[in-house]
Structures are given as structure tokens and as C-alpha cells.
Amino acid sequence: MNYFLRKLGTSLLNLIAVVVTIFIVLRMMPGDIIEPMAREEASRLGITYEEAYERVADRYNYNPQEPIYQQLVRYVKGLLRGDLGTSMLNPKNTVVSILSVALPWTIFVVSISLIISFILGMQLGALMAIRKRGIINNSITFYVTIVSAIPSYIIAIILSIIFVYQLRLFPKSGVYSIDVTPGFNMPFILSVLHYSVLPITTYVITSTGGWILNMKGSSVHVLGSDYVFAAQARGIPEKIIMRRYMKKNAMIPMITILAMAFGGMIGGAPLIEGQFQYLGMGAYLAKALGERDFILYQGLLLCISISVILANLVADLLYSKLDPRIRLE
């Protein structure tokens, strides 16, 4: 309990710091984001620049000419009310409403990929630790090396060229087909799967390598430990040793990496989701950036940072749940 509270406290502090940091970074923007829009509005409506400026700033709950602390107060007040501001490009879209549409898809894709790549990585990593030589080992090593040399976005490009453009097997954009009704029905589920398979594949291909390497290292370490040796001396069958001794112990340090991997994947989303036009957080991040919609960007960035903090918290809790040594502290 104490452990949990302490972790929660740290996360909260972290969260506050992240809010402030992101806020400051965005206020460091050179020039004035409102300016081009105000000019456009002024010329379109034939009103004075000052008037247009005030109008636009008012529309976006943002005024860069205010002192920074006042802006921060305004922003934080909005945050506490659950108001992250309004997209600059589409004043009617609140950031929260965009988040509510985009976040579930990203979480869906990332967590499914995380689970698949984690399972694969654990299995293959353990396998590599047991068998030090042989074709399987060599081919896994080859795969890991290649995958770690090619950035994920290039894999996304190649996959999309092959499967989307050349073979035309997968859709070019979107998260589900317009012909299905969202809800718990088979066509919808199939459609969601159909649209998400390529992003998931990309994530799985790129992140499995890291898991394999980590798991292999950890497994080799555990295999060399005394308790595995002792278990052999006790006549425990290999199968049980692998499952209960090696894999479980080797996986525990992986849990901490889990949160980091989650952060990394979500961080890479703008490129991957952008490539497949899978309209999750990443695609919106790329879109917001491309259109210089900084308020939306700020909201999205904050949201994914919060997800990373939460993932860290969850990983910590998971860790304490799995490792009896933590509970005592």
C-alpha cells in the first residue's frame, strides 16, 4: 500500500512537471501562431488586424500576448475542468473530443502489438538462451539484427507499398469501414481488425527484436543462476524449470521495460499511424503538426505523456505483484 502510494505520488509530481514542460515548450514557438490566422481572417472579412487578432485568440482560449504565468493559470484552470482547449483548425472540435476519438484506436493497436511482440519476444528470447547455436538461433539473430537496423517507419513504408498499394489487400486509411455499424457485431469487429492489421504488424515486426534481445540476456542470466542449477540437482524436470524458474524470473525485469516500450511505441506512432493513415493519436499528431495546430498538438502530447506515466505506474504495480521481493519494502 505504502509502495503504491509512493509510486502514485511520484507519478503525480511527474505529471505536473510534464504539463508545465509541454506548456513551456509550446510557448517557445517562434512567431505567433495566431498571427497568420488573424491575417487571413482580417483579409477575408475586411476587418482590422487588431480586431481579427482578438477574435481568433478568443476563439482558441489562447493569447500569446498575455504574460506566461497568466497563460499557464488559464491553461491549468482549463485542464482542471477537463478542458484542453479547442483545435485551432476546427474551432468546433475540442481537443478532448478529438482525443476521445483517437486515443482508443492507438491504445488498441499499441497494446495488441505490445502483447503479441511481448509473447513472441519472451518465447524466442528464452529459446535463444537455451540453444546457443543452430539454424534457429542464427536466423533469429539475423532477424533481430536486420530489424534493429531498419527504423520502424521504413518498415511501415515498405509494408504499405507492398500490401496496400501493390497487392491492394488493406485499406488506405481509416479505422473501420463506413459500411459497418459501430458496436459489438461481427462485421464491425472484422472491419476493425482489417484496418488495424498493418499497423499492428509493423509494431510487432519492429519491437519483437528488442524483446528477444532483452529476454535472451535476462534468460542467460537466470540460467546461470544458482537456483536453476539447484533445481536441476533436485531432479525437477526441464519443462518445469523452464516455465517456473527460468521464464518467470527472466520476465520480471522485462516488466519495467514494458512501460518504456509502450512509451517508445506510442512515440513512434506519428510516423507509423501517419503512414497507414490509421487515425489514432499518432496520425492526429502528424496532422496537427502539419497544419501547425499547436493547441491540438499540446493536448495530444500531454495525453500520450499521461499514458506513458500511467503505463509506468501499471508496470510498477505489476512488478510488485509478480516479484515477492518488492512487497516487503
Binding site: D32, E35, N93, Q123, R168, K172, S191, H194, Q277, R292
Partner: protein, 635 residues
């Protein structure tokens, strides 16, 4: 250990197999899951009719993902959907500036009054009658954001189908009246839904007091409001925009059926008069993710967008049925000089630099089909100059041909010399380095054009560097004088290509980028007869000239003076491409010449051709006009 690994391997293998299976299965799903009717087949058994479902698939059109999709046109919440769902009182075909009536039946200008009679057989797509009140509602609710209100005294609802516009003094010319009435998206606010807001605006308007100040800064309807009332108006406008409607309610030929964040399905609006005559039963719109692949694979029937030449050719070859129509845009790209710095403050130098640039290679890399112009910069959209300027005047315009020898001579005449490194030095022995800024938001086009210009200038003897600058700051930096030159739009209008519009955007925006502030000091230029023109005043006087010859004369003088002043280089007038799929639609323009040009069509040769193609472009004229006129049909 060995047995164990084999067993483990089998486990992993089956896991991977399941994953691959899911991959393959979902891949197959695409072939069965898609609506078969929407994918046109070239099956010969079905005879000449291939588009049996009579669907038009359109690529493009940004609309926000739900929940942002609201049924309200204002604030662009429905994107391209608006072109099919809403109608306006009039529409203007950009480029020809022809005004076409839509909801209006007849109209009449009498002194300071214009009376418009509307069709009486129109209904909103929810079944409610469309009346003059709906029109009136639009102008009131958009009191601050509609350009016309600045020139109006009042709008009166005469009866259910008649509106009366009262113009403020001095009364603008009839042409300008028409353009203002037709401009933008008018007349589309259902009173039966937003009546509450409108009536409140009307209440507040009663509290306004007449304006007496500077006529160029006249507020809407010439009314001045207390601060509280102003805030109330602002709030009303914002509240109005934030009303969420599930689907838009309009009077147009189609209405929204289904929406996702990348697709919208439109079906025929049953309340539209002659809706039974609409040939396309359904419009499927897809936001553009990768137009390239959509076009190559014939997965769309219509798209508007400029592509590099090779890509266009590849797409046409890959698809086999797509047709590409290039169409001149009402804007041209050029290089704006910063006239505050030496030596660009010297008109002669600017003219010489204009002469240096060979525009062909620039055009080839940046916008292949674009049209080069011989002008420095004229303020008008170049393609319209012959329409507004007399031939004999036009002959007096200076032309620039990319003749570097001539340019060198021009500089030498001004006292410049070339130094040992082949760089130009001025009378004081000073040499110069230039920086051309390109808007990074333009992507490769901007920077390649800038690089090519820079290369030519450097070759000529002015060391020049091209630089991509972040979109949010490039303009303000240029206005602050941070760069020597900037690639941007020069002679252009955002919508209607009327000379007044074109000049007023030039003498405000472009001049400011060049470092000339017209509000600080009047800009006086000499015309071809040596007569001095106060540019700002001359431009605004265009608004009130009813006499055509007088109008043309003034336009010619302004354009000549602008060209002579040469604060920018007009590189080319932009061209955009319009793509149509001949496999699913028939009745497309120049249908009999597809073979001749291998479906990469030439620029429109006549005004008719221009108009035919222009209305295929949603940005030029509401595209729905195509279907209403029943020209393009499903094949």
C-alpha cells in the same frame, strides 16, 4: 534440452502461424467486405453500363472526424460535403466571374436598392419550406463575417420569397454589387432551427447607432455598438457555430447519409426539385490519404490536386481510365523582393533581376503545366489581363524574357560592374548576397523553385541562397524584413478574380511583404503617361466606377504601374489538375480527344471549355452544378 526446444519451437511456430493466418484472413476480408457496387468492373457481360449503382466516388474534402462533424456549414464543419448539401443564392464561377443564379429566380438593381426574388419551390432536406427568412437569417447571424454587410445599409424581408438589399452611400458599381451578392457561401441558415439566434441579433441591431467616421473602415450595416452588445454579438455567433447538428440540413441536391472519420456517404435529397433526374444516386467521399494510389487503382472517380508531371503520367498509365484536366488557378507564384534593403530598393536592379530569371526550368520543377508570364508583376491574375486591359495599353507593358545579356546591360547602365570573381558590384564597389525564403509548409515545390531561382541568380553573379522557413513565421519574418526575397503567391485572388479584389489583395499583402506600408505613407507610382497614381486610392475607386471604359482604363494604368515598379517576379501562373474517371462517368469535357492527348488533356482553349472544366473543381464552382446540369452521368 533438445526435445524441449523442439516442443517450444512447435509452440512458437503455431503462434506465429495463427498470427499469419489472421493477417491473411483479414487481407481476404477486404475483397469480400467492400461494397461490390462501388468498384467498377470492366466486365463485358454487363454491357455499356458499368456503374450500375450510379455512385460517384470523390477523393478529397477535409472534414473533421466525428464528433467534430457538425451539420453547420459555418466554420467549415462539413468540408466538401457543403458543395453538395447546400445551395447559395448565386454562385460565381471563378476565373470567368460569371454569376449563375441558384436559389434566386430574378433580381433587379434600382439606385441604392437591389431586389432579389427567390424560387418558391425549394425545401430544406428535413421537409421545411425554404423562405426569404432563411436568407435574411444568414446575413444577420454572420453580421461580422460577411463581406457584403460593410456596404449595406439594411436587408429587408419583403415577403416570403423577396429580399431587398439597401446599399450604403457611396453606392458601389453594379458589377461589384453582383459579386458581393454571389460571393462565398450565402443564404444557407435554416431559420426554423437557428431562428432564436437570429432574432436576438436583430434585437441587438436595433440598439446600434449610425457610424460617421472614415468610410473605408465602415462597420457592418454602418452600425456602432456598445461594448456589451458587441460581446453579446460575438457570443451569439460562437454559440451559433457550436450548435451540434448530427447531419447538415440544406437545400442542395444531396444529403448526408453516413459519416466516419475518413468517409462520407451522400444520397439524393428527396426534397430537391427534380431530384428524380439526378443521375448519380450516391456520392461517396473519401478524405485523401494518398491520392496517388487512389487514382492509380481507379478507386476514385474524381479528385482535384496538382501532381508532378511524372507522377501524373504514371498514374494515368497505371489506371488506364483516369483523365487529367489541367486548369489555370487564379494565383501565380513569384519572388517578392524586400524593397527596404540595398540594392533591391532600386527599381532598376529589380527590373534587371526580373530579366535574369529564365522561368521555364523553374516552372518545370515546381508546377509542370503552369503558364509562364512575361510580366514582373501586375497585381491582376495574369490570365485575366487581356479581359480587363485594352490591347494597345497592353503593348506598352514591359516584358521580361530571361535574357541575361540584356539584364547585364541594364545593370551596367546603372553603373554596376563585374568583379574578378564574376560577381556584380555596385557603384560603391559593394557586392551582395541574397537569401530567398521559401515557405516550408509548401513542401518540395517551394524550396525547389527557390533553389532554381537562387541557382540562376548565383550563375548570373549574385550569390543567392535558398532557405526553407517554418510556415508560421516565414510571412511575419518577411514582413519584418528578415529575408531579401521570398517565394510566395504574387498576382492572385483567393476567390473572385475581379480586378478590384486582385489589386486590393496586392496593395496590402504583397506590398507589405515587400516592405511597403501603405497605411503609413501613400504609395505614389507613375503610369505609362507619367501621371501619378496614389495606388491605394486608385484601387478603392475601382469599387465605384460604373462606366466600363473608365474602369478598364484605370485597371490598365494600375497594372502598368505595378509591372513597372517590379517589386516581385511573377514566375508562373499556377495550374491545378482535375481528375475524372472515364470508366464510371460519361459526358466529361473534351471526351472525344482522350485518345489524342492520352488522357492528359491540354489547358482549356476556350471560355466554354474553361467553364466546363472549372465546375468540375469544387473550389471554383460548387461541383454539384455538374450533376444539376446533368452533363456528367454515370456510365
Amino acid at each position: 534440452m533438445r526435445n524441449l526446444t523442439v516442443m517450444r519451437l512447435r509452440q512458437i511456430f503455431s503462434f506465429v502461424l495463427i498470427l499469419v493466418l489472421i493477417f491473411v484472413l483479414t487481407a481476404c476480408y477486404s475483397n469480400t467486405g467492400n461494397d461490390p457496387g462501388t468498384s467498377p468492373t470492366n466486365d463485358s457481360d454487363s454491357g455499356p453500363v458499368v456503374n450500375k449503382e450510379r455512385v460517384k466516388r470523390i477523393a478529397g474534402g477535409y472534414w473533421p472526424a466525428p464528433p467534430g462533424f457538425g451539420g453547420n456549414l459555418i466554420g467549415a464543419q462539413v468540408g466538401d460535403v457543403g458543395y453538395y448539401v447546400y445551395e447559395s443564392m448565386f454562385l460565381v464561377i471563378v476565373g470567368t466571374d460569371r454569376v449563375v443564379p441558384r436559389l434566386a429566380k430574378e433580381w433587379k438593381h434600382e439606385g441604392n436598392k437591389t431586389t432579389v426574388v427567390l424560387h418558391d419551390n425549394r425545401k430544406w432536406s428535413d421537409g421545411t419550406d425554404f423562405t426569404a427568412k432563411d436568407m435574411w437569417a444568414y446575413y444577420l447571424i454572420n453580421i461580422n463575417s460577411s463581406a457584403i454587410t460593410r456596404y449595406l445599409e439594411a436587408i429587408n424581408v419583403v415577403d416570403d420569397y423577396t429580399l431587398e438589399f439597401v446599399w450604403a452611400e457611396p453606392v458601389i458599381s453594379d458589377t461589384q454589387k453582383m459579386l458581393l451578392l454571389a460571393e462565398g457561401w450565402q443564404a444557407v441558415t435554416p431559420y426554423h432551427i437557428f431562428g432564436e439566434f437570429v432574432e436576438q441579433v436583430a434585437e441587438i441591431m436595433k440598439k446600434g447607432t449610425p457610424y460617421t467616421g472614415d468610410p473605408t473602415k465602415r462597420p457592418p450595416f454602418g452600425l456602432v455598438f456598445e461594448k456589451d452588445d458587441q460581446t453579446a454579438l460575438k457570443n451569439l455567433y460562437n454559440d451559433f457555430k457550436n450548435v451540434d447538428m448530427e447531419k447538415p440540413i440544406g437545400t442542395g441536391p444531396y444529403m448526408v447519409d453516413k459519416v466516419t472519420n475518413v468517409e462520407v456517404d451522400l444520397v439524393v435529397n428527396p426534397y430537391f426539385p427534380d431530384s428524380d433526374k439526378l443521375e448519380f444516386q450516391k456520392i461517396k467521399m473519401h478524405t485523401v490519404s494518398d491520392y496517388n494510389s487512389l487514382l492509380s487503382s481507379n478507386e476514385t472517380d474524381s479528385f482535384v490536386g496538382t501532381l508532378p508531371y511524372d507522377m501524373a503520367r504514371t498514374i494515368l498509365d497505371a489506371s488506364g481510365t483516369m483523365v487529367m484536366y489541367p486548369l489555370l488557378e487564379q494565383k501565380s507564384v513569384g519572388v517578392i523582393f524586400n524593397t527596404r534593403v540595398q540594392p533591391l530598393n532600386d527599381k532598376l536592379v529589380r527590373q534587371a533581376l526580373n530579366e535574369v530569371i529564365n522561368k521555364k526550368p523553374v516552372r518545370e520543377v515546381a508546377n509542370y503545366w503552369a503558364v509562364e508570364t512575361g510580366f514582373a508583376t501586375i497585381g491582376l491574375v495574369p490570365s485575366t489581363i487581356e479581359k480587363y486591359v485594352d490591347k494597345d495599353v497592353l503593348a506598352k507593358f514591359a516584358r521580361y524574357t530571361g535574357n541575361t545579356e540584356k539584364a547585364a546591360k541594364m545593370l551596367e547602365d546603372a553603373g554596376w560592374t563585374k568583379n574578378s570573381q564574376g560577381k556584380w558590384v555596385d557603384r560603391n564597389g559593394r557586392s551582395y548576397r541574397f537569401v530567398i525564403a521559401a515557405n516550408a509548409g509548401w513542401g518540395a515545390q517551394g524550396i525547389t523553385a527557390a533553389s532554381e531561382v537562387a541557382r540562376q541568380l548565383t550563375e548570373f553573379g549574385f550569390e543567392t541562397e535558398a532557405k526553407a522557413v517554418e510556415a508560421t513565421i516565414v510571412v511575419s519574418n518577411m514582413k519584418a524584413g528578415a529575408y531579401d526575397m521570398m517565394i510566395d503567391f504574387v498576382d492572385m485572388t483567393w476567390n473572385i478574380s475581379d480586378p478590384y479584389k486582385a489589386f486590393s489583395s496586392y496593395y496590402g499583402d504583397i506590398t507589405e511583404k515587400a516592405g511597403i506600408d501603405l497605411s503609413a505613407a501613400p504609395l505614389i507610382l507613375k503610369d505609362y503617361e507619367g501621371k501619378e497614381l496614389n495606388m491605394k486610392e486608385a484601387v478603392s475607386s475601382l469599387l465605384y466606377i460604373n462606366d466600363e471604359q473608365e474602369y478598364r482604363d484605370l485597371v490598365g494604368r494600375i497594372a502598368w504601374a505595378t509591372n513597372d515598379n517590379a517589386i516581385a517576379i511573377n514566375l508562373y501562373q499556377n495550374v491545378m489538375a482535375i481528375w475524372e474517371n472515364s470508366a464510371t462517368s460519361k459526358g466529361l469535357p473534351m471526351e472525344d480527344e482522350f485518345k489524342k492527348y492520352d488522357r492528359m488533356m491540354p489547358l482549356p482553349r476556350t471560355e466554354e471549355e474553361y467553364e466546363e472544366i472549372a465546375i468540375l473543381n469544387r473550389a471554383y464552382a460548387p461541383f454539384a452544378e455538374v450533376f444539376v446540369r446533368n452533363k456528367v452521368k454515370p456510365r
